[in-house]
Amino acid sequence: MQRVQGQRGRSLIGDRVMIPVRCYTCGRIISDVWDVYKERTKQEDPGQVLDDLDVKRYCCRRMFLAHAELIDEIAPYE
């Protein structure tokens, strides 16, 4: 069977695994508050949490909202 390569760039795969260090668009450091965001959104509204964490611009906010943390899921298939 022929394997078709994924269309996404390989570098993006790393960002699926862990939260990117900076915002793709503006370059602001966002990963330092990811742990807090993850913990607080279990109960609170994500928008409110991002306001509290001083993540103002929508380019940075989408980094949190659109992120899928996959590192624990790929761990067994190392």
């Binding site: 570098s11 790393g14 695994v17 862990m18 939260i19 260090v21 900076r22 915002c23 503006c26 370059g27 602001r28 450091i29 990963s31 330092d32 508050v33 990811w34 742990d35 611009r57 590192i71 624990d72 790929i74 761990a75 067994p76 190392e78």
Partner: protein
């Protein structure tokens, strides 16, 4: 030209420039983005990496960590070594490796933000033929930080948002400048250094023209 500080925070500075041409403000903006030097990790010597990230991904994440920089120490070819060593726990579980665990050869250099997760090291328990073992993950590396400018790579860019907009208050018109730093340099220092670099360039231009005439 008149400069007024509208807001001066630790990470963000707002200044209003009046009696100034837009092209001057734009030149200042471009120098701040592309020509103010900072330190950033540029090369890695990876001794061991059994983590879930490829070496390249680890390198990119480390390069994007802003390092605290002192412009007074600027030396073009200076190299600062930072070491990072971490192992996942003995029992099944995980440890998160943060940017604060980077140890530099120069005590003045450290990550500007302590809690940037670099990689998550996971220990998994496996049972093969009735025998339980724990597979641990480890990283050990030496990173070399160098001086550089934003024109070469965005990791050396000291500012994130650096822009201006037109503001008019009645008859008064000014350009409202927003400068947000990434933590590697204090924001006021970025603005001053950019102005100094522009001045130096103009002086060099004058020198060059003098030689011609």
């Amino acid at each position: 030209m008149e400069v007024k500080i509208v807001d001066r925070g630790e990470k963000e500075v707002l200044i209003a420039l009046s009696d100034v041409k837009v092209r001057f403000a734009n030149a200042l903006r471009r120098v701040m983005i592309a020509e103010v030097p900072t330190l950033a990790i540029d090369e890695l010597a990876i001794r061991e990496n059994t983590s879930l990230l490829y070496d390249e991904q680890l390198a990119l994440r480390l390069a994007l960590v802003p390092l605290k920089t002192d412009l007074k120490d600027y030396k073009e070819d200076e190299q600062i070594t930072l070491t990072l060593k971490a192992t996942s726990p003995e029992k099944a579980g995980h440890t998160m490796v943060y940017s604060k665990e980077l140890i530099a050869s120069d005590p003045k250099v450290e990550a500007a933000s302590e809690n940037i997760p670099i990689v998550k090291l996971i220990s998994t328990e496996r049972e093969i033929g009735g025998i339980k073992t724990v597979a641990r993950q480890k990283i050990a590396l030496d990173a070399i930080a160098r001086w550089g400018i934003g024109r070469e790579h965005a990791k050396w860019q000291p500012v994130t948002i650096c822009s201006y907009r037109n503001e008019s208050d009645g008859d008064e018109r000014s350009l409202l400048f927003t400068v947000e730093g990434d933590g590697s340099l204090p924001v006021d220092e970025i603005i001053l250094e950019a102005a100094r670099i522009m001045q130096e360039k103009c002086e060099r231009m004058v020198e060059a023209l003098k030689e011609l005439s």
